[in-house]
Symmetry: C2
Subunit: 454 residues, 2 copies
């Protein structure tokens, strides 16, 4: 669940302080479904900004990347309030065992009628998370190796345990399932061992739709192998084009997947108004909620570099965790100064840029028609498949998008007019595409396909 949104939580129209009520989430879900939005995405992490190795007081005071509730447990209430909307939960491969995640997401996929997506994260902001979990810091590359092993276990459980026609449910003859069609999987990987069957019958999608972000070399490889939707930064269109091409090529050449097997999604801010001036004024109002101090905390939170006492006139330092996906893209984004008059040269200029432009780096600001023009141009230029709407005010951002922007996007043929099918995978890949395609690595774990499944 998103918690409060840094800075903007204090906007008078923002109701994000109600994030620990069910009403907040069910209303949001219904509004998005009314607008035909493909899915509600719930971010997650346990981390908060540190200062000198302990909780940063200013992060608590100003709600910078803090607080954060558990997103997973809210999903069944949202599922109950909706019937088509996809629900994407972020879960890390570093904090819970694979058999648990497999059963949880499978149960949710069943309860929601096949509407669950899993945003796979390999652990961010390690220092504060590892303190909470009492675990060791792991290098970036190793975390992707762990994630790879983790995914193999979950895919074997989802795809390999139950054959399609295993459940018989014949009350008269007291046969619940055909034991010849329920298999124990066996996995002995470098990080995880698992022997047994998924204790719950397969959900509509079997494997939830797999999301991933991260454009480091290891991140791209992981995306190319597993992801069905990838979040990429949209701040530099030419970078987005390169990311898409690189991941597509890897997916086809290394993993034998189809060119259109992965959808690419950019986080973006949409701020509209009756006039361009009103939209620009609202954008400026939004920027007014960011302070230099919160920009510093966000920077340190994403990169692991504390800048609180840094000299603002010094050049931008290299990230302490430059192999991190999040910090790498942030460093690239802000060091290059998208939207700035000139490239930021100092820490102070970079923070001012971060303060004004936020972490998204991609914004569509104008009347609904102007936004549609810009979206069309951006999509033409990059080949991006969709956008993750970043919040300004809640529910204002979503109300505006559904009520004002979506109708224009639909008129232009830039957005669908109805949901494809009833499952999340169908929303993104068309009716009938309910389960993983045959050439996804997960399909190789289906009974009879591979030796890896007993």
């Amino acid at each position: 669940m998103a918690g409060l949104v840094t800075g903007i939580w204090a906007h008078p129209d923002n109701t994000s302080g109600e994030f620990l009520t069910l009403d907040y989430w069910t209303k949001m879900g219904r509004k998005l479904e009314e607008g035909g939005i493909d899915f509600l995405f719930l971010a997650d992490q346990f981390a908060y900004p540190l200062k000198n190795g302990t909780m940063a007081a200013r992060a608590v005071e100003d709600a910078v990347a803090f607080p954060m509730g558990d997103p997973l447990v809210a999903l069944s209430a949202i599922a109950s309030a909706t019937s088509r909307l996809g629900l994407v939960a972020t879960m890390s491969t570093m904090t819970e065992p694979p058999a648990h995640i497999a059963r949880r997401l499978s149960t949710l996929d069943s309860l929601s009628g096949g509407r669950i997506g899993w945003n796979i994260v390999t652990g961010v902001n390690q220092e504060s998370t590892t303190r909470l979990f009492g675990t060791a810091l792991r290098p970036h590359g190793e975390r992707y190796a762990i994630a790879d092993d983790f995914l193999e276990v979950t895919l074997k459980l989802w795809e390999g345990s139950w054959e399609d026609d295993a459940v018989i449910y014949d009350k008269a003859n007291r046969i619940y399932a055909d034991p010849a069609k329920v298999h124990e999987i066996k996995h002995e990987g470098p990080y995880f061992r698992c022997e047994g069957a998924l204790p719950v019958p397969p959900s509509p999608q079997r494997t939830p739709l797999l999301f991933q972000a991260g454009t480091s070399s290891a991140g791209r490889r992981f995306a190319a192998k597993y992801a069905e939707a990838v979040f990429i930064p949209g701040s530099h269109p030419e970078k987005a084009v390169a990311d898409i091409a690189a991941i597509r090529t890897l997916a086809q050449e290394e993993f034998g997947r189809d060119a259109d097997a992965i959808k690419f999604v950019c986080g973006a801010l949409f701020i509209t108004g009756d006039t361009a001036e009103e939209a620009v004024r609202r954008r400026a109002e939004m920027a007014g909620y960011s302070t230099l101090e919160s920009a510093k905390l966000e920077w340190s939170y994403h990169t692991g570099m504390e800048l609180s006492d840094a000299d603002m006139d010094k050049p931008i330092p290299g990230s302490r965790q430059t192999t991190e996906d999040s910090s790498k893209s942030l460093v690239e984004k802000y060091a290059s100064g998208k939207g700035a008059e000139r490239q930021p040269q100092t820490i102070g200029e970079m923070l001012e840029h971060l303060r004004v432009h936020g972490t998204t780096g991609l914004g569509f600001v104008g009347t609904p028609e102007q936004i549609a023009d810009e979206v069309e141009e951006f999509v033409d230029r990059t080949g991006v498949d969709g956008f993750l709407i970043e919040p300004f005010t809640t529910p204002g951002t979503y109300d505006d998008f559904v009520d004002r922007i979506m109708p224009v996007l639909r008129e232009r043929g830039l957005a669908k007019t109805a949901y494809d099918g009833s499952t999340l995978r169908e929303h993104l890949f068309g009716a009938g595409n309910v389960t993983l395609p045959e050439n996804h690595v997960g399909a190789s774990f289906r009974p009879g396909v591979s030796e890896q499944v007993k």
Copy 2:
């Protein structure tokens, strides 16, 4: 979530096959709330019966202790459909890290308005679970030592992180919380390390209501220290009296708790009818759904002893896991033959007894008035505070209880006529008792109370 109920799933009136739909759970929740029932209890485990070390085919075929979905993820949908009903989730201290469970249950307690209970289990049916998780088998005593360390972490996070007035939420001055009142806890135990703050503000109950079962020596000690409600077997009233007295005495003498700080609950079957004969006939009908084969599987599932090829004329063997709470009570229960004409002497007699009387061992069968008489007598004799209703058919069992039995219990003053307060802790301990009492060990972790909290 309960999955299918062994044997009885095949009854024509049983809808338990719908356990992977939200409607099944929200309807059940609404019915229980209509009846003023204190809480809905969701069991959980990953295990299923094994035969020669792998999944027992007959367990799959006849749905013996299998399948089982994840109970936690269904709770917010049930919470959304109700407003008073308590919701108790079973979660093991062996499969997930404490910081995760702390944040999940806290989030759910907030989302539900303070209605969450945690049934703490230390891991049952280890062989099949450890295969799935790739973990080592742990001796019974060590599992309680792990659980003790685990509880300390979660209690520190729940009670020690946020002071009551930490959240300010002053939008005008942009102060979300007072950093001087949000504390990082520090725990260095034999099994878990944790340093940090619960990333989510405190829920209404802070600590969910703590449930526990298990009447071994280590189990009693754990209950006496932590539990606010304890499930005890009711098959032998004199044993229930002894369990209650032993746990109460330990709680008072060793842990300084009040005599009435723990409620005791017995699992029981309630089968009613218009006449005593009809109720007895339905009880017999229920027994007809159990087979010798399913009794064998249940026995092996609970005790770890496989009896599939055993000589039925041999004496009852000692449990391979005799220190297990579940198997210990099962062995005690069936070896002593409650309800039988004479004490079972052989494996065959014991299994026949298990087949007919089920794992509950306590049953109230008769007209609502007869049941009320028996309940009254049982409560007078044992001092038990309540019952966990075991299902025969679903929703029939709950409909009968709410519509037919509850009104008579209320007339007799054996059941409350309205909910006490709005939180689960208040339902059990009276209005106003929302958080842990001052002399619960958890209260010692509150800021300023103990050195253990920074």
